[in-house]
Symmetry: C2
Subunit: 268 residues, 2 copies
DNA sequence: GCCCGTTTGAAACGTACGATTCAAACGCGT
DNA sequence: ACGCGTTTGAATCGTACGTTTCAAACGGGC
């Protein structure tokens, strides 16, 4: 009586074709799972909680998705396809990729950063797709490869193209990679280090940017502005010293003096 | 028979004064716990594993530290005191804070970054103190306040002082905070996003900097060099536009495209 | 040498969670 | 209306943990 394989197809994988509340349940599970996984990550979320909030039974998860990992994979796929067309957070109020590509790269960088900041810092439902791979970033699961290829890399390439334009460096220059990295890092810290930054910022002049509570639109813009400006400066310097592995030079030597030196040795 | 308080003092907190193997066990537990917590974080580590590797009994943990949280707190305190004197990873081969303070700020920035990179990227025992609060950063526990105040903030202030010197901005300028943030972010991404970066970097010109395996000394230096250079550029730009909230300006105008148009409609 | 607080060892308990089972309910084709 | 594959509900199992218990072992002070 204790056969291994029960009787169910375990993972239909494709929608089981026109069922009254089956699809509804499946859908509800995906939505709810998205929220939970987005908030707490794969390990942190429990299928019990998800099922309770989705008004579904635990058995439904196993029927539709096989197991927790299957639900997670399906949730990622679901999030992927329903936010597929948008690029870099082109939520309703924002620009499309088409519009952006007409603008100068420096402006595009700022828009990119603003959109990314919005999605990264916004807690809650609208952007749980982003929240999902932010968790995947810190606590990778077996789904990471998919997430990187289908969600992260496109945006990475978008930013890298901007960096390439801004620096004029060839595509295969490693500094383009490193700089792209430097830029996204500035955004991501506010997510991955929010608890620490909140405490460091507490009571400081930068208090308004403390990332523990939702940032207001105004602060979000200022933050994007700072990161954009800082990054443009970094990229400008990148163009300056073309020779590789050159140690720290005399740029910005004297500290508190207001002299106008900002870049002396720029050949271009 | 089921009294609440057993009979033990639960948390001696101070060393129980000259005991043959008691101190030894306590010490062994602290060391092993440090490694485990550093590798997997508080939630990821199990006291069973720790005890097994430390050749101690689970009851010993309860006796010496009360519970898992107590062991964790003690581990943090232990790590703190035994790496207290050093500042920003002044491991044997590196400079002391004293020596550094004599150098120009740009050089100090580079040394700071190199030391930080070393500690952040180095997996394994020597730097599990740093690894410990890197975990605390992403998955905060009740100990976070202590960690921030006693471990993170001193180094933050050190870096902030360098930024202040490099920009000449007053102490209470929020841009100093934001820029300090931008700098540490570049280092931390290689830790918190290592899995993703490894995949993005795979097969790219920046392949050598893929943070999934230990970086060689040479790559570590190049990485520090890049972050330093990029950051100096960002800081230099910060000095340039003194007026606040100024939108993207003409610096590093579009290279591959000759048009000089930039921000048009930005009231921000 | 004996008493008593301290420390250790081995086992058990309680809980949270994912996975499993199985029968009942449902819906569709005939 | 009937039978059969599909879906759901409720209960149960197995495992991994942290925690607790309690008696045995230890060691210094009388």
């Amino acid at each position: 009586m204790s056969e291994i394989a029960p009787q169910s197809p375990i993972t239909p994988s494709v929608a089981p074709e026109a069922d009254p509340r089956s699809l509804a349940t499946r859908q509800r599970l995906l939505e709810t799972a998205g929220e939970h996984f987005g908030e707490r990550g794969f390990a942190g979320a429990t299928i019990r909680e998800i099922c309770k909030q989705a008004d579904a039974n635990i058995a439904a998860v196993h029927y539709h998705f096989g197991d927790k990992a299957g639900l997670y994979a399906a949730t990622l796929a679901h999030a992927r396809e329903q936010s597929g067309p948008r690029v870099m957070g082109a939520t309703p109020g924002e620009m499309t990729w088409q519009q952006l590509s007409a603008l100068p790269p420096a402006v595009r960088l700022r828009e990119f950063l603003l959109a990314m900041l919005r999605r990264v810092l916004d807690k809650g439902k609208p952007h749980w797709h982003t929240q999902l791979w932010l968790h995947e970033m810190v606590n990778p699961t077996r789904e990471l490869d998919n997430v990187v290829d289908s969600s992260i890399r496109p945006q990475w390439e978008g930013l890298r193209a901007i960096v390439r334009e801004l620096t004029g460096l060839p595509d295969d220059d490693e500094r383009v990679w490193l700089s792209t990295c430097s830029i996204v890092a500035q955004v991501l810290l506010y997510k991955h280090g929010s608890a620490v930054m909140a405490r460091l910022y507490a009571g400081s002049p930068a208090q308004a940017f403390s990332p523990d509570r939702p940032l207001h639109e105004h602060e979000l813009r200022l933050l994007a502005e700072h990161i954009c400006s800082f990054s443009l400066g970094g990229l400008a310097r990148l163009r300056a010293d073309r020779q590789d592995a050159e140690p720290v030079t005399e740029t910005t030597s004297t500290p508190t003096d207001p002299s106008t030196q900002q870049s002396k040795e720029h050949p271009c």
